[in-house]
């Protein structure tokens, strides 16, 4: 089964979707077919993947799959429980958007004329993006940022003749704890 490393639906209004989306960070064994198993599970159980990205981790035995799931298609708890049943899945963390650092990358090739070129460069600068390739009458721009920021940027790019745009799907890590560690809590107080 072939599967590009990231799948993001084209177009559409992303911002309203945030509420029904959850980010799962899934640690899997780095074995052939694991991605197929995950994709198959989602399709067979009728769960929707909104975006998905896979990359090796610092430990080469494992990969990390970051899945943005649509929880309107099924309760998140069922999705994680079913994922856990895959033999190659080691660990699943739900990343709460409010407590996560989330990044996504956008690249776009845009046609420019002598009038629009500097305007576009200015737009990229405002967003803290980069020009990564320059052609005779085109520019390729790149921006890494939160999905929301990318949405805004993409909307503004819409004013120019877009040749092609690609987005990666997001990766996320839990925000780090800023408070100093407290004393270990008593065991009996642990919720079940």
């Amino acid at each position: 089964m072939t599967f590009s490393s990231s799948v993001v639906p084209m177009g559409g209004n992303r911002t309203n979707l945030e509420a029904k989306h959850h980010v799962l960070s899934v640690l899997v064994e780095n074995k052939s077919g694991v991605l197929a198993r995950i994709a198959q599970l989602f399709s067979r159980r009728g769960y929707n993947i909104y975006s998905l990205s896979v990359a090796p981790t610092e430990d080469e035995r494992f990969s990390r799959v970051t899945i943005v799931v649509d929880v309107e298609s099924a309760p998140l708890e069922q999705i994680t429980k079913q994922l856990h049943k895959l033999i190659n899945v080691l660990k699943i963390s739900e990343i709460n958007a409010a407590q996560a650092v989330e990044y996504e990358l956008l690249m776009g090739s845009i046609s420019t004329s002598s009038e629009t070129r500097s305007e576009l460069i200015e737009l990229v600068r405002i967003f803290d993006g980069k020009i990564v390739d320059v052609g005779f009458d085109k520019l390729t721009v790149m921006l890494a940022g939160s999905p929301k920021m990318l949405d805004d940027f993409e909307a503004l790019l819409g004013a120019y003749p877009i040749v092609e745009i690609q987005r990666t799907g997001r990766v996320a890590l839990q925000k780090l704890d800023r408070s100093a560690p407290t004393r270990a809590r008593s065991k009996s107080g642990k919720a079940s």
Binding site: M1, E29, G33, H84, S192
Partner: protein, 572 residues
Amino acid sequence: MQLTGAQALIKSLEMEQVEVIFGLPGGAILPVYDPLLDSTIRHILVRHEQGAGHAAEGYAHVTGRPGVAMVTSGPAATNIVTALADAYMDSIPLVVITGQVGTSLIGTDAFQEADTTGITMSVTKHNWLITDASQIPTVVREAFHVATTGRPGPVLIDLPKDVSNQAMEWYWPESVDLPGYKPTLKGHPKMIQEAAKLISKSLRPVLYVGGGVLRAGATKELLALAEHCGIPVVTTLMARGAFPDDNPLCLGMPGMHGNYTAVTSMQKSDLLITLGARFDDRVTGNVAGFAPYAKVIHVDIDPAELGKIRNPDVPIVGDLKLVIPELTREIKKLKVDLKSQLEPWIAELDTWREKYPLSYNQDPGGRPLKPQYVIERLRQMAPPDTIVVSGVGQHQMWASQFWKFNHPNTWVNSGGLGTMGFAVPAALGAKVGRPDKVVWAIDGDGCFQMTAQELVTATAERIPIKVAILNNAYLGMVRQWQEMFYDQRYSEVYLSPDLPDYVKWAEAMGCVGIRVDSADEVEVAIEKANSINDRPVVIDFRTDTWEKVFPMVPAGKTNDEIVIGPQEMERK
């Protein structure tokens, strides 16, 4: 010690104490069939790979040990997919080995190539494509471990031909290393205490028992729990025999064709103690109206079952064999007199039992022959621990309703997938697993025609199973739905009573064939069948075409709308 991959596979199966393989060879698996000749493992040559899969299931059902099947690549692998799906639905431990084209040919549309691991991914608990002979012992060890632990299920090992021929240095792994697979066995003590508290306060509790109790081998533990508390028990289609039908606490089968008392007990219950059951739609009817007054305790080894259909008040993940005794212990600690607390409930159930028993009407003239009468006579004339295997359809429901199951693992059927053609090969596998027991397949005429050729296997391998065809000349269950819900517009359900001629067909396959047309011939025929032990027997019972299975909860309706019998049907 140097071995070929093929030799390593056979040796690994021996290490796993496999005693029998159901299979059929072909190109890609040829290398493995050679060392098999020198092995102590028995091989049973089936006539169709689906039969190998169902036979392995039947074996696993009655022995509790994993069934093993081995077939070649491509069409053989696709032929066994039905059995994998069946085993997956009913949590039956199977290890299926398929040959695969050589590794250099994979992906080239080579002769008899199929993407077997891809095709079977959603119907196996896990599968493996072996790419190097050195992986064989590790993968076999892992495969048996995964198939038999946690929630059991089928697994598949795909073995390319060149890997079978490759040399490897033999080893046997000490243990399995599957970092992502650690089933939870011990129930959470606090949750078990919560469950005990709920039970001690309940007034109308029901033990809702599913096939998980049999898979866990926890029937004695269940009996102890039920008898200590005096709580009535319903046994789902998959759990028939998990609790003795003769026990006064047993209410029998709930669900679409369950009896009135079992169905209604759940509807009126204030507490469902769900043990290894999964709120299947055939049990719940319309879920929104299922057991509306009940709190739910749900114990299952598969965490994903908890909350999948119905949110439990007390979820417990764990092995029933451990959790049930813990629960009993906690209840005892509470020192409540549950038995007197439940007296009114039991009395109410008793009035229903008396008022709405399962019934049928055999005309004393003998014709038409009622299928339920046949089953009752079969039962009365069979040893009490007889293994009953069924196909799918009306005959399956009647078998479940009218047999009395008093021993675990004596009822073998296809519950979750509802696979027609299951009975004959599964009966064969069951008899191989328990040669000491009488095995009756109760089959439909439609089902029988799907896999009857495995009777050739049974004759050739001297596996003396007995088959009772309830020949109603129809795809009866479908006919019943067309009669009830499609205005008696019968579309493509007629089969004919005598095409094929089942007696001749049985004889052609080396079995004894007997025909029965009327009730007064039943006893003689069964006596004859019981006296034959050196070959399979097939009895063609010509039963009443028009008989319908009742009670029935019509699809989509709530269980409160249960239709008890034909008389009531007419009133509605």
